[in-house]
């Protein structure tokens, strides 16, 4: 755990970021861009150990020099902060959001009963709004509640998170599904009724009850396996999808749909899809420092 001075400084920075800077970043796309770069620079400076872990992993996995890996890590910090700024901007102007998307040339046909699997990459929440709002996909997002008892984020950050969840639920007219037993049973029901779910597939194992091992770039890591199990039980495919910020708009990119008739084969295909997105967009993936190595079981 970092020393107390460092923790206090981190808490003050988080409060400043979410209570003062982010609301200003919502004023324009240009200020959003300034916010993203400022946040990345400060995050880089205040947690050097996190940066070291990320840069080493990027260099190892992608075969890059440490300088190139550092630039990719910096870009990933910018990407994560830009997602906040974009969300804050469109929360004030929801009517302009859908026109900002450039659809993929290979939009898959809407299928009955699908789990849209995104990554912590680019603009995952905005991709969900695109699917529901522009494509008419009857998808419900799965997410953990921002419960103060279990999630000790700062008040300002939680306030932004709650406001964002309320906006997403209002925009899609679909409440989030939680990760408790009742919500999971409802998620199954939703799939069996031919509808869709939307969730991140690359959730690190250390925050969940069940996990599984996949191999990425020659190394074993553990990711949450609940969504994979649900796909297998409901006999529905996973459809990888991400959205990335490009030139003021968003590109929507799809991966290959994964059928769960054979779980072992499906896991290998999923790992290949994650690796394909990460190799293509390494500076958009936020999880470089946060992965759970295969040795750490949950």
């Amino acid at each position: 755990m970092p020393p107390r001075d460092s923790r206090d400084r981190g808490a003050r920075w988080t409060e400043l970021r979410y209570a003062s800077l982010l609301p200003r970043a919502a004023s324009s796309r240009r200020l959003g861009d300034v916010y993203a770069h400022l946040v990345a620079a400060i995050e880089l400076a205040i947690d050097r150990e996190r940066g070291r872990v990320a840069v080493e992993r990027i260099a190892r996995w992608l075969g890059r020099s440490s300088g190139a890996a550092a630039r990719i890590y910096h870009a990933s910090l910018v990407s994560e902060a830009r997602e906040e700024a974009d969300s804050a901007y469109f929360m004030r102007r929801p009517q302009t959001l859908l026109a900002s998307f450039r659809p993929s040339p290979d939009e898959p046909e809407a299928r009955r009963g699908t789990i849209y699997a995104t990554l912590h990459l680019g603009s995952p929440i905005l991709a969900y709004l695109y699917l529901c709002g522009a494509r008419g996909v009857p998808a419900r997002a799965i997410g953990r509640r921002l419960d103060p008892a279990t999630n000790q984020m700062s008040a300002a950050k939680r306030s932004f998170g709650l406001e964002k969840v309320a906006w997403v639920e209002s925009f899609t007219r679909q409440p989030f599904l939680g990760v408790d037993a009742v919500s999971t049973a409802r998620a199954r029901e939703h799939l069996l009724a031919g509808k869709a779910l939307y969730a991140a597939i690359d959730v690190p194992a250390d925050v969940v009850a069940r996990s599984t091992e996949i191999e990425l770039f020659g190394e074993g890591i553990r990711i949450a396996s609940g969504l994979l199990r649900l796909a297998a039980l409901a006999r529905v495919p996973l459809q990888p999808v991400v959205a990335v910020h490009r030139g003021g708009g968003f590109d929507v990119l799809y991966g290959r749909a994964i059928e769960f008739d054979d779980e072992g084969r499906a896991l290998a295909l999923l790992a290949a899809e994650i690796a394909r997105f990460v190799r293509r967009l390494p500076g958009e993936w936020w999880l470089w420092p946060y992965l759970t190595p295969a040795g750490n079981r949950s």
Binding site: A187, R188, A209, L230
Partner: protein, 80 residues
């Protein structure tokens, strides 16, 4: 084999507990460490065993093996 026996067999397989440890009054939460997927796994296995679809709202009210049997009986009656 009775419906209760078939329900017990399904639960024993899903939760990986001995069949003879399951009585009608056995509480699901005391049989194993349940997580958010356990009930869905039981529901899917019951669907396959009986050719029914167990509704999620009914499922979340099940506390004991007997509750599950009652849900199964209700579902089967509804499809006949």
């Amino acid at each position: 084999m009775t419906e209760l026996d078939r329900v017990r067999k399904v639960v024993a397989e899903v939760l990986r507990v001995p069949l003879d440890s399951l009585a009608p009054a056995s509480r699901l939460s005391e049989l194993a460490t349940l997580d958010s997927l356990s009930l869905v796994e039981i529901a899917s296995a019951l669907d396959d065993e009986f050719g029914i679809r167990v509704p999620s709202d009914d499922l979340s009210t099940a506390v004991t093996i007997a509750d599950l049997e009652r849900i199964v009986v209700g579902c089967r009656a509804a499809v006949q």
